[in-house]
């Protein structure tokens, strides 16, 4: 599903080369639920950006469902983001002037998928928010907003869902609800990768990748060292 080989990312900062990712290798199979952990500056956000096809690596190989991502042009990357990747952000990132339904529908519109309204409504149903479909994000609670964001991430049936600190802006009870939802989705064989620095959140996943200084320092499964 996901294959990463010697992935590096080097940023130019005022004439200096800053390696944010210094050669990372791993595989993630379909149906996995992976947490990426690490202190700030460890390169986990950079890795998320690369996995989400928002950015291209400096060198190395990133294969997503047999597509060589590093060889794609911006339009092809946009297509990959649209069809194969769902994003869930810490700050929800919903369009403020669009209803929950319209927010959920948006990836389908860019993907030119027919019957987009019905599909979007189904996705909202899946996250338990069909009754709030006509409401704008400002009329929704934090947890509801994140559910809309998850519905939006789900709606195109992506290969993976990438969640960047999805519970970071939520209280613990709501955070737990969101994590429960992720668990349910994972049981329906949705592949999930989430970035977090909360140990409790990471414990609810099947696999945890620890990062430091742009490298993977540990890759554990169900809390047991695997390599």
């Amino acid at each position: 599903m996901i294959e990463v080989e010697k992935l590096t990312k080097i940023y130019q900062m005022g004439g200096q080369q800053v390696p944010a990712l210094a050669g990372v290798d791993f595989r993630i199979e379909k149906g996995e639920f992976v947490a990426i952990m690490g202190p700030s500056g460890s390169g986990k956000s950079t890795l998320m950006n690369l996995l989400g096809c928002l950015d291209l690596p400096t060198s190395g190989i990133y294969r997503l469902e047999n597509l060589n991502i590093q060889d794609l042009n911006p339009n092809q990357l946009a297509d990959v983001r649209n069809h194969r990747i769902g994003f869930v952000f810490q700050s929800f990132n919903l369009l403020p002037r669009a209803s929950a339904l319209e927010n959920t529908e948006l990836p389908l519109l860019y993907g030119r998928v027919p019957k987009s309204k019905e599909i979007a409504l189904k996705a909202l149903e899946r996250v338990g928010l069909a009754h709030r479909a006509k409401h704008n994000p400002t009329e929704l609670s934090g947890g509801e907003r994140q559910r809309v964001a998850i519905a939006r991430a789900l709606v195109n049936r992506p290969a993976i869902i990438l969640a960047d600190e999805p519970t970071g802006n939520l209280d613990s009870a709501t955070g737990k609800e969101i994590m429960d939802l992720f668990q349910e989705l994972n049981q329906e064989s949705v592949t999930l990768i989430l970035v977090t620095h909360e140990q409790e959140v990471a414990q609810q996943t099947k696999r945890v990748i620890h990062m430091k200084d742009g490298k993977i320092i540990a890759d554990t499964s169900n809390g047991v060292e695997s390599c």
Binding site: L54, A78, R81, H83, P107
Partner: protein, 402 residues
């Protein structure tokens, strides 16, 4: 499908910022309204002048005695033209189809107990045809009556009203400066112009006028009709040559007559109208330009404000082209809106102008399409830079933007 959604979203964002949208469109509104109203006023003035000039016929060349100095001031002797000159011109220039010499003066008319002051014009038999006068009742005088200097007259419709209260005047006798004239015809009204009323005159044979009324042997003007309007320039040259020859004017002396033509007047008027139109067009173009810059300014602000939105859209799969389209739709929508309101305001202004003054205005479909098309082009042109800026944003930076 997607375009429709983008359109709806653009509309929604414009409606959310109503005041801002209106102020942004205001530049375009003013520009388009000024284009429409100025063109309509210019068109109207042109129509009016053209119809005025064509009443006299544009193929008529007028020869007058004396010299024409600048600004239509005539100097020199005024008795240099005679009936002989008129005949000479007629016989020697084959391109002309008619010649009508005239004398005219204001005179007192009297019928029964009614008096009126009007222009008495002594003319040849072909004058009615040359000057586009149609007969209402009776007939115009003929060559025989001119030769024998008969005391007969044809009256214009204004005189008919003033003197006869529109009753049939044929066979009646009126007094012109105390002398009896028999009315043999009336002319169809041409309608008054702002500076003179062609219906407020009577026509008598030119010989009668010279010998029996005014006591003069020269003529005051000779109208020459050109067969074809393209021949005007040649005919004017021919007239000058023929008359200089007849008047024995030495090479180094000036003409003792001058030649003028309504087509020349029309042309010089059209030249100045064109200059005026360019000027107005320039002003309108500048205001549209300023309006366009206003749109660009606001769109740049809008792109900055919505950086995060752009990032979200890109993250979920919007292509560069689709972001570009979204912002272009918005700027074109603003200018379209401005153009639409501008057209209405422009039509309103020209209505008011034609209502207030005695001024004809013509709102042409062309000018509406032009102004409308131009404003949409402005929207695309000035919207492109901000839209392109939006489309080129890096999704990661855009998503992080606070």
């Amino acid at each position: 499908m997607l375009i429709w959604v983008l359109f709806k979203m653009a509309l929604r964002s414009l409606v959310t910022h109503k005041l801002r949208t209106f102020l942004t469109a205001l530049g375009i509104i003013i520009g388009v309204a000024s284009v429409i109203s100025m063109i309509s006023i210019g068109e109207g003035a042109r129509n009016q002048t053209q119809s005025t000039i064509s009443k006299f016929g544009t193929n008529i060349i007028t020869i007058k005695p004396g010299q024409q100095k600048s600004r239509h001031v005539t100097t020199g002797k005024v008795d240099t033209l005679t009936l002989d000159d008129a005949n000479f011109v007629k016989e020697n220039i084959p391109l002309i189809t008619g010649v009508a010499a005239q004398v005219y003066r204001s005179a007192q008319l009297k019928f029964e107990n009614k008096n009126t002051n009007t222009t008495v014009r002594g003319t040849g038999a072909s004058y009615a045809r040359l000057a586009n006068f149609e007969m209402d009742r009776g007939r115009y005088f003929n060559a025989e009556e001119i030769r024998s200097a008969k005391r007969i007259c044809v009256v214009g419709s204004t005189v008919l009203k003033n003197l006869f209260e529109n009753r049939n005047p044929l066979g009646k006798t009126i007094k012109v400066d105390g002398k009896n004239f028999l009315v043999i015809g009336t002319t169809v009204s041409k309608g008054a112009l702002s500076w003179f009323d062609p219906d407020d005159q009577i026509f008598i044979p030119i010989t009668t006028a010279q010998k029996r009324v005014f006591g003069m042997d020269h003529v005051q003007s000779i109208d020459v009709q050109a067969g074809k309007i393209e021949d005007l320039e040649i005919i004017i040259e021919d007239i000058t040559r023929v008359l200089r020859q007849k008047h024995d004017i030495a090479e180094d002396k000036d003409d003792d007559f001058y030649v003028q033509n309504s087509a020349q007047f029309l042309r010089s008027w059209e030249d100045s109208a064109k200059t005026f139109t360019y000027l107005l067009g320039g002003i309108a173009a500048i205001s549209l330009m300023v309006g366009g810059i206003g749109i660009m300014n606001i769109m740049l602000v809008s792109v900055t404000e919505r950086t995060r939105e752009i990032g979200i859209r890109k993250a979920i799969g919007a292509k560069k082209k689709e972001i570009l389209e979204q912002f272009l739709i918005e700027s074109v929508l603003i200018s379209f809106l401005g153009g639409g309101i501008g057209v209405l305001v422009g039509i309103g202004i020209s209505r008011v102008v034609s209502g207030l003054g005695d001024w004809e205005t013509v709102v042409s479909t062309q000018s509406i399409l032009l102004a409308f098309g131009f404003s949409v082009a402005i929207g695309v042109f000035f919207g492109f830079y901000p839209a392109n800026k939006a489309a080129n944003l890096n999704p990661i930076d855009a998503l992080r933007y606070e």
